[in-house]
């Protein structure tokens, strides 16, 4: 298929299941005394992070190191980029350093696509603007499957600022590919204009959707959106779309609560909800390493010919 992972829509059902199954096997490494496999020895993975994100970067770093790859971290702050170096020149520098894979996070949608045209290695999108965050969706699907035993026919509610969320876009694409049913819940202002063309349902009423959901995924809401009139106040947003313990009680017994992090405790998710047994927030982090190991292995672990 592809030598890059730029978007979940690039993944067929078989591709996606292969990643999840591989991650399942690689998850065992975390419990071993020697948390290392020799597979990517001699390969270089560059973390190219133009946006601050310690969590995601550390996750990719751990994944690469567990596969014995060399990791180079490049963060935009205080670097040549801060001095105005273009994306293209940064890419050419990485080429010269012999990067086998570039994991890139950027505030501009489509930046990984541009990068893919300028480097010979594999490009992994670690989040581009409001566009996609494929490994997040993969680790979310992995978590759901582990907790609930299946993905086919699973009813997933994604709640919050869908308009600006790359996590939402990636999840809608991937879950649909894997046979789950997605419902987006948000105020109308935070839904894209053409959301009716997306492969999912849409609702403005969180209370109505919760009893029919196996998974509730809460998206982080940003205070700035209030200033741009997407909703009147944080209080009103939280009242209508926040998952507090009262709402959590509406969920079926087996249902789980997810959040890509970082959370605004008390706004989109109650503190007690975040800490409840239903919450997968902590295990999502560990699962992230396994899933990213799987992605790096499948992109870099085989012959050059496929690339």
């Amino acid at each position: 298929m592809n030598r890059h992972l730029l978007s979940t829509t690039d993944l067929s059902r078989d591709d996606a299941l292969l990643i999840l199954d591989t991650a399942e096997e690689l998850a065992q490494v975390a419990d071993r005394p020697i948390r290392k496999l020799p597979t990517l020895r001699g390969r270089t993975v560059v973390n190219l992070f133009f946006e601050d994100s310690t969590r995601t970067r550390i996750s990719f770093e751990a994944a690469a190191k567990r596969l014995s790859a060399d990791v180079i971290n490049f963060s935009a702050k205080g670097s040549s980029v801060a001095k105005g170096e273009s994306l293209k020149d940064t890419a050419l520098t990485l080429e010269a350093m012999g990067a086998d894979a570039v994991v890139v996070r950027h505030s501009a949608s489509g930046a990984p696509h541009r990068l893919a045209g300028w480097v010979r290695g594999s490009v992994v999108n670690a989040g581009d603007g409001a566009h996609e965050h494929p490994t997040q969706a993969l680790l979310d699907a992995f978590t759901m499957r582990r907790r609930l035993g299946r993905l086919e026919g699973l009813r997933v509610a994604i709640v919050g600022d869908v308009l600006h969320s790359r996590v939402a876009r990636s999840n809608v694409g991937l879950l649909r590919t894997l046979g789950a049913e997605v419902t987006l819940v948000a105020p109308p202002t935070l839904l894209p204009v053409a959301v009716a063309s997306w492969p999912c349902e849409v609702s403005y009423d969180l209370n109505a959707v919760l009893p029919k959901s196996d998974v509730v995924m809460m998206l982080r809401v940003q205070q700035e959106r209030m200033n741009a009139a997407y909703f009147p106040t944080i209080r009103e947003y939280s009242r209508r779309y926040g998952l507090d313990s009262g709402r959590m009680a509406l969920l079926p017994e087996h249902a789980i609560v997810m959040h890509p992090g970082p959370m605004n405790r008390g706004i989109e998710i109650g503190a007690d909800v975040a800490d409840s047994v239903r919450s997968t927030i902590v295990e999502q982090v560990g699962n992230g390493v396994s899933v990213r190991m799987a992605v790096l292995y499948l992109l870099l672990g085989g012959s050059e010919a496929q690339r």
């Binding site: 005394p33 496999l37 597979t39 499948l298």
Partner: protein
């Protein structure tokens, strides 16, 4: 990402493979029984033995051996699986492969006698990879190797402790093991291979 899957469960008749059957179901059965007895002899009754089958077909073989050990000794024997894909030395020659399942039985491998189980021993590279994998999992007291077929042409200093059948072959030939659990029948087939390069 594209992965070549481990050889699947499609049944291949000897005729379709263009070869001849060198071991049938009864011969395989007897060979495994003999190996089980040899294991018990050489490991002092199978104490502290963990059988780890190398996917794909090493796994059902390990299970069958474990059943025989349990029958003879009257107590259960440990069997599991050890996938060695991540330790292969030839990964870069083909697109990334899907992983097999690793299942180390409770009790682990530290201080125990691990018996690796595989269907065919050829170049020895698979076993070399398995030794590396074991090294990262723990420290066995000893590692032994049981194979159903040894077809010669070793490329590394590796030998099997228990062999079902020694089968001298030319590198132009291909040895295919079929097992009930995977392929629906038990047979060892010797035929012509197109690529002389398919090495176990």
């Amino acid at each position: 990402m594209h992965a070549s899957k481990p050889a699947g469960a499609a049944t291949v008749s000897a005729k379709a493979a263009g070869g001849k059957i060198v071991l049938g179901e009864p011969e395989i059965r007897r060979a495994l029984t003999r190996i089980a007895h040899e294991i018990l002899e050489r490991t002092d009754g199978g104490t502290d033995v963990v059988l780890l089958g190398i996917p794909t077909r090493g796994v059902p073989l390990a299970r069958r051996l474990a059943e025989r050990l349990a029958q003879v000794e009257g107590r259960p024997a440990s069997a599991g699986s050890l996938d060695i894909t991540m330790y292969r030395d030839d990964l870069r020659l083909r697109p990334a492969r899907a992983l097999g399942h690793t299942d180390v039985p409770p009790g682990g491998i530290d201080g125990r006698v691990v018996i690796l189980v595989d269907d065919v021993l050829y170049s020895g590279r698979t076993v070399r990879a398995a030794l590396d994998a074991l090294g990262d999992l723990g420290r066995p007291r000893a590692v032994q190797l049981a194979v159903l077929v040894d077809r010669g042409h070793r490329e590394l200093p590796i030998r099997a402790d228990y062999v079902g059948k020694n089968l001298p072959t030319s590198q132009r030939e291909m040895v295919k093991v079929l097992l009930e659990e995977v392929d629906g029948q038990d047979a060892v087939i010797l035929g012509e291979s197109d690529e002389g390069k398919a090495r176990a």
